[in-house]
Symmetry: C2
Subunit: 231 residues, 2 copies
């Protein structure tokens, strides 16, 4: 076996690490910020043992690193580019696989019934924020918001949406975002807020893509972030 083939095999090993839905779910959560195994297992809907095993797999492929913090093992992405890699994989799949269109359609079918209200693009959002015409709503859990979020964003986790409506402006259009293009949280939020009469649209990307693009992000002080890693 030549060196070149070994190289391709090693590369294939990295691709294989991405070749499992559960592992992609884990990576998507890790793209929001570092987290402990238990947290990761919970968001990916896996048993802790199973999640640990998948994380080992990702670690062998060089996609994540682990670091002990007391009783907990904190995992994080090794490289910001992994977010870009997943986004590109998504784009290629979306344009070339009919199956994807069907699934994306189903995910987006419920809200946006009229189809009139398109998702907000990155450019539109940047413009709207600088002119103050848009308000920005982060509907992810508090823990993920604290690990990092878009500047000027208001955090109302989806579960508490109706309880904290007083934080939302009535006079401006609201843009909701969450974990990424396939994350359902912002869809759900848009749907519910529209029924309450708010003018609200969805951001077509999520926090990880924003950050990977090199755009500015805000975060809580390190102490708070550290604490939030522990489940």
């Amino acid at each position: 076996m030549t060196s070149q083939q070994e190289l391709l095999d090693t590369l294939a090993g990295v691709a294989r690490a991405l070749g499992n839905g559960h592992r992609l779910a884990l990576l998507e959560r890790l793209a929001q910020g570092a987290a402990a195994v238990e947290t990761l297992a919970h968001t990916a809907d896996l048993t802790v043992g199973n999640a640990s095993q998948h994380l080992q797999h990702l670690r062998r492929a060089g996609l994540v690193t682990a670091q002990r913090d007391g009783k907990h093992m904190i995992y994080r992405l090794t490289d910001e580019r992994i977010v870009t890699l997943m986004a590109l994989l998504r784009q290629v799949a979306e344009t070339n696989l009919a199956e994807m269109e069907r699934l994306v359609g189903r995910l987006f079918a419920e809200d946006d019934a009229g189809g009139a209200l398109e998702a907000v693009t990155r450019e539109e959002l940047l413009a709207g924020l600088s002119t103050g015409k848009l308000a920005l709503l982060d509907v992810r859990p508090e823990e993920e918001f604290e690990a990092g979020h878009l500047p000027q964003a208001i955090n109302i986790p989806l579960e508490q949406l109706e309880d904290m409506l007083d934080r939302l402006p009535r006079d401006r259009e609201i843009v909701a975002y969450c974990r990424g293009p396939y994350c359902v949280l912002s869809h759900e939020a848009v749907q519910r807020l529209r029924q309450l009469g708010y003018r609200v649209r969805r951001f077509e990307e999520g926090y990880p893509e924003w950050k990977a693009a090199g755009l500015p992000v805000s975060a809580q002080p390190a102490a708070a972030t550290q604490a939030s890693l522990r489940p």
Copy 2:
């Protein structure tokens, strides 16, 4: 199973299609241009039956399309971005996997003994070509050259290198390129030409990356290209 999980599973299916060294080799060849199964099987060092099966796999994942041309089945990449996807995969693997460094080191160990002569970057090459200070040498097989190549490139397939030296200038530095960063053809060419006293360095990328970056490429007339698809 939720729609979101199905989406990730579908995406994982695409990643899994990339998760095999032979398939990556096939894609790398396809990045040079469309080709028939026999050609692909030959460059990837596979039996025709096996290559066909791998190509089916890639087709199901939406990465390649097939189109019949007489007796031959011509495969091509569905999307130029697949080249970018593979390049990104390579970058992530190179920076995060120690194993990769070892393998890349071994691949590059033989030539460039002094280590003094770095590979030529894209910027350097563009500058050198516009000022006429550099000559450009494509050492891929004629067939791939005809399917597309960098502007101003001279084609001397590696096997015929010593037979066609009269095509090379003595007064300018030569830059050799081939299929991509892991392709050994240009390394081999640089080594052999240096022993003959030429001033020659290697381009750090290859034809597919150049093309995927949107830079201009030249190609033979369509008729010749068509013919070259048949092995």
